[in-house]
Symmetry: C2
Subunit: 311 residues, 2 copies
């Protein structure tokens, strides 16, 4: 695998991003609301699967639920600071007198916020996951962060390049659509995996989580032989001791499908998560390169934003 | 379309189910947690997209988040009353001294609950959506229910049988995988649609919501010509006045994909929702029949449950 691709360099840079110590000042609150879209919003999804001390409400749209008020710890995540939906939510939060915390490289969002954590410009949102995620972990969950050796989790993912390269080849040669399963507390990875296939590899993908999948999508997987052969099955194994690991074996035996298993490395939940995120990033970038796509090219999304701003 | 199929009869029966007046006694609470899987859990997802007065946390797994305590209004939804994951969550809630509300036809769950709303036996979970959803709406959101004419929303969906039949034919003849988009407050329908394709039609499906889709899956839709032709594009139009309706037009122009648009009928949000749910149910049953599958046959899920109970 040729790690000189500019996108790989950005991904490797996340090992520096996870060292940032920035955090928001804590204030009394009854729940947390995190607003953000796409590559910026995924940090909220990951945080909410790691954090269980209070209700965490992830908003990925234009509207702010009625219950969000001055007692809510409100954080807006927008790499550019100009995401239309996120600015709409922030505007509504301001009208309700809510304190606005934000993580952003600038844009209109910075000027609308009471407290801003500024992150460097010049990246794409999905290349800045460390910058976007760490302020959440630093503010609310200091224990796990201190225990972790996040930089080495990232190096550890890069050391798997032979395995990842051969999996990337297999996926491209299969000409199939990726189908991804994972489970709590790593279920948000299944969604990150799907969106990285979308953006880096320019491929569609299905993501689902266990055990919910056993209540619906197991049906076509077991019964629709023709359609089942259109997918390349991947499983992200974060927690191997859970009841869902047992279900995974049964999914394979009932459906006759073999999943390619991607197994976590690391000691803490956070180390495993960071390892898996990077494994997924490297894999989807490599699949894009093998498919003759530019992993960095998401002009189509940028053009949409420009067109929308005219109307 | 031949409505004598037993599954259609069950679906039509939901027009009676929505008349039930059962509700739980209200108690002081700071948030609502609804636990449930698959066809039973979808009622919680739909409720949470309609209800914004307090945080609603939908649990679809074995674990109960740490913040759920005696101040939480806790409801378990399990048609059979024997869903392994839901019983695990209820057990954890009992250990924390939380009052257990449940909607169920019986099983172990009924015996573990402080307050039970019992619903008739002999259906499948996805055939009993009215029974599962109405207690939530009746308890927390009486206004919208009183304004609605839900039975006629259902008849109205059945009156579309010619249109639905021809769409079902198109889907089956295309031999493509359904791809479904919707947006708030109807975004939960996209997931219901996917799972009904899974169970009724024995087909895989991708479900996504706007505007989040514009931040990731629009990329392969615009750039991967070969893969894009593998999908049959459906859009559920609940709210035609939102910014997302505008985004829908732009998705089509950027990607060159034509979506088949399913438009809501009805006056209130709840009427539209019930109309769309039935449109989706009738369509996915008909697609199953045309594909020579038995829409009612989900033995594969039942076998999995039996196997799991042995280990």
């Amino acid at each position: 695998m040729n790690f000189s691709d500019p996108f790989f360099k950005q991904v490797m840079d996340i090992s520096n991003q996870v060292k940032i110590k920035d955090k928001f000042g804590l204030m009394d609150h009854s729940s947390i609301t995190i607003a953000g879209m796409g590559g910026s919003g995924v940090s909220g999804r990951i945080f909410s699967s790691l954090y269980g001390k209070e209700p965490v409400n992830v908003v990925d749209g234009y509207d702010l639920p009625d219950f969000v008020d001055k007692n809510t710890f409100f954080i807006a995540e927008s790499y550019s600071g100009n995401t239309e939906e996120t600015l709409s939510v922030v505007e509504k939060a301001r009208e309700r007198g809510i304190t606005i915390h934000s993580v952003t490289s600038g844009g209109k969002l910075a000027g609308m916020s009471d407290e801003v954590i500024r992150i460097p410009v010049g990246l794409q949102p999905r290349e800045s996951l460390g910058y976007l995620l760490m302020p959440l972990l630093n503010t609310f969950q200091t224990d796990e962060v201190n225990d972790s050796n996040l930089g080495s989790a990232i190096s550890s993912a890069f050391s798997m390049s032979d395995e990842i390269g051969s999996l990337a080849n297999e996926i491209v040669e299969s000409d199939r659509i990726p189908y991804i399963l994972s489970w709590e507390p790593f279920a948000s990875l299944s969604y990150r995996f799907k969106t990285q296939f979308n953006e880096n590899s320019k491929m569609f993908a299905i993501s689902h989580s266990l055990s919910e999948q056993n209540h619906n999508e197991l049906v076509p997987m077991a019964l629709n032989r023709k359609m089942k052969e259109r997918f390349f099955y991947l499983c992200v194994e974060g927690d191997m001791n859970s009841r869902n690991a047992r279900r995974m074996d049964m999914v394979e035996s009932i459906s006759g499908v073999n999943f390619h298993r991607i197994r976590a490395k690391g000691n803490t939940r956070l180390e495993k998560l960071i390892y898996l995120i990077h494994y997924i990033d490297i894999l989807t970038v490599q699949v894009g390169i093998l498919g003759n796509y530019d992993p960095e090219d998401v002009r189509v999304l940028e053009n949409l934003k420009k067109d929308l701003s005219k109307h």
